[in-house]
Amino acid sequence: MTVEKTALPNPGLTSMTVREALRDGMAEEMRRDSTVFLMGEEVAEYNGAYKVSQGLLDEFGSKRIVDTPITEHGFAGLGVGAAFGGLRPIVEFMTFNFSMQAIDQIINSAAKTLYMSGGQMGCPIVFRGPNGAASRVGAQHSHCYASWYAHCPGLKVVSPYSAGDAKALLKAAIRDPNPVIFLENELLYGHTFDDVSQDPDYVLPIGQALIRRPGKDVTITAFSIMVGKALEAAEALAELGIDAEVIDLRSIRPLDTETIVRSVMKTNRLVSVEESWPFAGIGSEIAALMMEHAFDYLDAPVFRVTGADVPMPYAANLEHLALPQVADIIEAAKAVCYKS
């Protein structure tokens, strides 16, 4: 297995997979706070459909690691009620595709009630699970929800790339007094990164992007699995003489607009990468923000690299075409540098 070097020298950091990092993040917070519990389909006895909750039932028992029936709308609402009642639920969706069954409870009950109650009814809850495309699972199991949830005031939306970020941001999400949508990626679960802190007090603040690769010619924003593709593209671009700066958004809402603007003030060019659909996507929002905050610094229109505007096809060749590839990012960067 390859270990992805994140170039973050720190002697306290260790290597592990995203899957293990998420598990450790939950376990540390459950040791720290007895009101934290995990519920979802197959999280306990099966150890998680994707083994993210491996071993948690053994350590914490069935009171705190709760297998639910297949009843997303119901258990999402139950989680919201438990949060109103003083607990800190972590609700796992086997995939975020199934959260569409529960989206009324997430938006109408979890996100809006603090406002509707004049500040009385906080809802400290984490909804987490794999988001976006995996591999050959078709249109109903490949959906990225970043834009959907980021649209809504009252929610925070986080989507980490590396194992270290996954752990530290999940811990922040669990401690956060608000509902947090925590978008993971199935394909990243098995990736190993060398950036995981083992300090149980180490958490990352939600809302800060990370410049994963500094550069001066073009800014590339990405989140989750697309960060890896953006980094790959940046390496290829370097050989073409284009020095790309890659920003890992990490948090979609709140979005770290300042970091993106600063980067664009330096590079004067921006490529946004996401695997979801183009219309009203995260790239659309970033493009609008750059028009508002960095218009005079742009030397080219913002370029959106997105998934194709189609339901995800099953056929291998079509699926490949529907998802942003490294080559698409390279072409986009060349285009905004007028080098195509």
Binding site: T35, F37, K63, T68, P69, T71, H73, G74, F75, A76, G77, L78, G79, V80, G81, A82, A83, F84, G85, G86, L87, D104, Q105, N108, S109, T113, L114, Y115, M116, S117, G118, G119, Q120, M121, G122, P124, P153, G154, K156, A172, R175, D176, P177, N178, V203, L204, P205, I206
Partner: protein
């Protein structure tokens, strides 16, 4: 036949039911005057349900309902001023004017709303029960819905989890026989709502929701069952709303005679008043005093709801996120 209740209890029950009735009548007036806007669902006719249930609750118990919620709040002891001022959208309202008729809450009184999406309060109430059990605080969640909500899928997801995990929740189906303009007969296959927990081994019973003592006794059985760790219980309250679904509903889907018959034969307050004077031998003076007191309280609530200022414009952008103990 119900056991006789004490004079003190009767006076309190009469007070609480009449307060709801008079409050709602005033709310209707304020709506007509344009001081209350949007959706406003009145509880007139159903008063015995919430007052009967409330009479047997303990301080740690939690209450949640849908949007016909003014009665629940007043029965739970919330201040009529704060409720009325929320209806008029003023800063003195329970949600600072930002929630409205359907969205009010009181942590102090363990009232968890006030929810506008039909049926969505049911999983949330089941979650409150989950928290009671998790914290072992001996609390019971009183989760109310109407006959309209009783056909929502999430209700049955909740029944399943509540029974599976033996959660301390009493599901109250306030059957007023109309989900907006659609009668029970036109919306619901099957003869009843109290029996709909059978598939999950949830006991249920039908209750005359127009009779305070009947509600109270059934609620006591149900709450005792839940508090003892035996799991959920369903109570179908046979009741009736005198007004339309909301203020904009002229209720043409039912006859005037039907409404009048219920008012004459089953009114929960009129019949309770007769029970107080004839059976419990409570003096007219004592009853009259309650009626006079309520008049004052409701007028004060109206006055407060008119004079409390609108929320400051700065409130537009508050209470969106709780930054209390967030990680920074």
């Amino acid at each position: 036949m119900s056991k006789l209740i004490s004079q003190d209890e009767a006076l309190k029950a009469y007070h609480d039911m009449l307060l709801i009735r008079r409050f709602e009548e005033r709310a209707a007036q304020l709506y007509g005057m344009g001081l209350i806007a949007g959706f406003c669902h009145l509880y007139i006719g159903q008063e015995a349900v919430v007052v009967g249930i409330q009479s047997i609750l303990q301080p740690q118990d939690t209450i949640i309902t849908a949007y016909r919620d003014h009665g629940h709040m007043l029965a739970a002891g919330m201040d009529p001023k704060g409720v009325m001022a929320e209806l008029t959208g003023r800063s003195g309202g329970y949600s600072k004017g930002k929630g409205g008729s359907m969205h009010m809450f009181s942590r102090e009184k363990n009232f968890f709303g006030g929810h506008g999406i039909v049926g969505a309060q049911v999983p949330i109430g089941t979650g409150l029960a989950f928290a009671h059990k998790y914290k072992a605080d001996k609390g019971v969640s009183i989760t109310s819905m109407g006959d309209g909500a009783a056909n929502q899928g999430q209700v049955y997801e909740s029944y399943n989890m509540a029974s599976l995990w033996k959660l301390p929740v009493v599901f109250i189906v306030e059957n007023n026989h109309y989900g907006m303009g659609t009668s029970q007969e036109r919306s619901s296959a099957g003869p009843n709502y109290y029996g709909r927990g059978q598939g999950w081994n949830i006991p249920g019973e039908k209750v005359d929701g127009m009779v305070y003592t009947a509600v109270k006794e059934a609620a006591a059985r149900a709450v005792d069952h839940a508090r003892a760790g035996k799991g959920p219980y369903i109570l179908e309250m046979d009741t009736y709303r005198y007004r339309g679904h909301s203020m904009s509903d002229p209720a043409k889907y039912r006859s005037k005679e039907e409404v009048e018959t219920v008012k004459v034969d089953r009114d929960p307050i009129d019949h309770f008043r007769i029970y107080m004077t004839k059976t419990l031998k409570i003096s007219e003076d004592k009853i009259k005093k309650i009626e006079d007191d309520i008049k004052v309280v409701v007028l004060e609530a109206v006055e407060f709801s008119k004079t409390s200022p609108e929320p400051d414009p700065s409130e537009l952008y508050t209470d969106i996120l709780n930054e209390g103990n967030a990680v920074t």
